[in-house]
């Protein structure tokens, strides 16, 4: 092979590998994360112990490492705004939806939204009491819960579907519950 051709080939290969993205640790979790890859829930949190110069490191209730962190060495992207179509009939269960929306460990919707019967109504988001009168379609509510950024780019509300914090069925259940308010 001529020297010139070898140089062209090397250039082409270098560009091709650059196109495949940056090279990091296999899972992209930054080195300054409080994280134990061998743990059950992996995510750790530090607890001070009285009169000790050492922290007690505890396991968090769930693994948070799959989503981008504040580390300068975290080069992972977050999911972009996702437009979704509600496929088929809703098939949502309102009772299950309530148990998701009004549960801190699941949807935690009540953290920001007021629901009927909640003694500590959230005001971070619009009240959902009397939501019926807005007459939103299932499809619209489904999109809002899946990814509200589609309607309002800089919204504070978490995209439960796009970020995988609720499953498709769970979102259908929440929509069914919302349609009863």
């Amino acid at each position: 092979m001529k020297k010139r051709d070898a140089i062209y080939l090397a250039l082409a290969m270098a560009c091709a590998s650059a196109m495949s993205g940056p090279v990091f640790a296999a899972d992209g979790i930054p080195p300054d994360a409080a994280y134990n890859p061998d743990g059950k829930n992996k995510t750790l949190w530090p607890q001070p112990v009285a009169n000790s110069g050492k922290l007690k490191w505890n396991e968090h209730a769930r693994d948070l490492s799959g989503w981008a962190t504040l580390s300068y060495e975290d080069h992972r992207s977050i999911p972009k705004p996702q437009e979704v179509k509600l496929e088929g009939p809703l098939n949502g269960d309102a009772a299950r939806g309530k148990a998701i929306a009004m549960n801190t460990a699941k949807g935690n919707c009540w953290a920001c939204h007021a629901f009927p019967g909640d003694p500590q109504p959230g005001t971070g988001g619009g009240s959902l009491i009397g939501l019926k009168k807005e007459a939103y379609s299932d499809a619209k509510l489904y999109q809002q819960v899946w990814d509200p950024r589609v309607f309002k780019r800089k919204v504070a509300m978490p995209p439960a579907g796009a970020f995988g914090t609720l499953t498709d069925q769970e979102i259908r259940d929440v929509v069914a519950f919302l349609q009863t308010l």
């Binding site: 530090p46 989503w67 504070a156």
Partner: protein, 300 residues
């Protein structure tokens, strides 16, 4: 032979056309941020809260708090927790015990005066030392916070004081208390502190975690709103009471508090002492400019 050469050249040109833009894209992962309200952080001072919550008017003078707000569900947040500080709160609490512990540890480490020197105290004088942090340390080539220096300087004397540990925070309370009543005044208008401040501001506004929330989501967008039984307070004028004794019986340093905020909002926390947390501390310290240190302190 001729066609292979031509194909190779075409291939290279094509790769260059596709590769260079991808290189640029590859270096910029897709992230989102909470917008900074126009001019909010200029100047970097506690008084700039007037442009956000304007609760500044209620807590700017520690000697003049509106005590009618205390215990009132709608208004208490407007005092920015200052009713927990002396003179309104004269209770003995875990922060005082930590101060005693800090004194004991400090004196043990400082028998030859080396520990004080390492922390930057002139002639062992701790008055005002808290106000010199965070700062850029030339020898280490990075911005350092007080508890990081406590960890480093103790290690030089053979003692492990892990960043965020009780004993590390206890010394921080002891040292910091010598500056109680003195206003924070961190200059972030010149490099390298200017860049550290800007990185802290960006980090504060960067959305992360499973809920795609930034510190600014709760403390800028939703500040003053009910979030599941809690009302988030302004991030201005807050840094001078850290480490604080929490009512859950925990002496909590600022970086440990960051890990708690991160977990509450579904974000993987970083280790205390990580650079983003140090830069956040620079940011929040400058946003306390003009407001005094208050240690020991207690919070809910």
């Amino acid at each position: 032979m001729y066609s292979i050469e031509k194909n190779l050249k075409a291939g290279v040109l094509l790769s260059l056309c596709l590769g260079l833009p991808s290189l640029a894209l590859a270096e910029q992962p897709y992230r989102e941020s909470v917008p900074v309200p126009n001019g909010l952080y200029t100047p970097a001072a506690a008084s700039s809260d007037a442009k956000l919550t304007n609760t500044w008017q209620y807590w700017k003078d520690p000697a003049k708090l509106n005590t009618e707000f205390v215990g009132n569900a709608k208004n208490e947040w407007k005092l920015n927790w200052k009713f927990k500080d002396a003179p309104y709160n004269s209770d003995l609490h875990g922060g005082h015990l930590a101060q005693d512990r800090g004194e004991e540890l400090y004196k043990g480490l400082n028998k030859s005066g080396e520990f004080a020197n390492c922390l930057g105290a002139k002639n062992g004088n701790l008055k005002g030392l808290r106000l010199t942090y965070p700062h850029f340390d030339k020898a280490q080539g990075k911005v350092v916070a007080l508890e990081g220096e406590i960890e480093r300087c103790a290690a030089k004397r053979g003692m492990e004081l892990e960043y965020g540990s009780y004993d590390n925070s206890a010394i921080s309370v002891y040292v910091g208390a010598f500056s109680t009543g003195m206003p924070i005044n961190l200059d972030v208008t010149k490099e390298p502190m200017k860049t550290a401040f800007e990185r802290g501001e960006q980090t504060f506004h960067l959305k992360s975690g499973r809920f795609n929330m930034a510190c600014a989501t709760c403390h800028v967008m939703l500040v003053g709103e009910n979030l599941r039984g809690q009302i988030s307070t302004t991030h201005f004028g807050d840094v001078g009471h850290w480490p604080t004794y929490r009512s859950k019986d925990e002496l909590q340093g600022l970086h440990v508090r960051f890990t708690e905020c991160n977990r509450n909002s579904g974000t993987q926390p970083l280790k205390p002492g990580s650079q983003p947390y140090v830069d956040l501390e620079v940011f929040l310290t400058a946003l306390t400019n003009g407001y005094p240190v208050s240690l020991p302190s207690t919070r809910d």
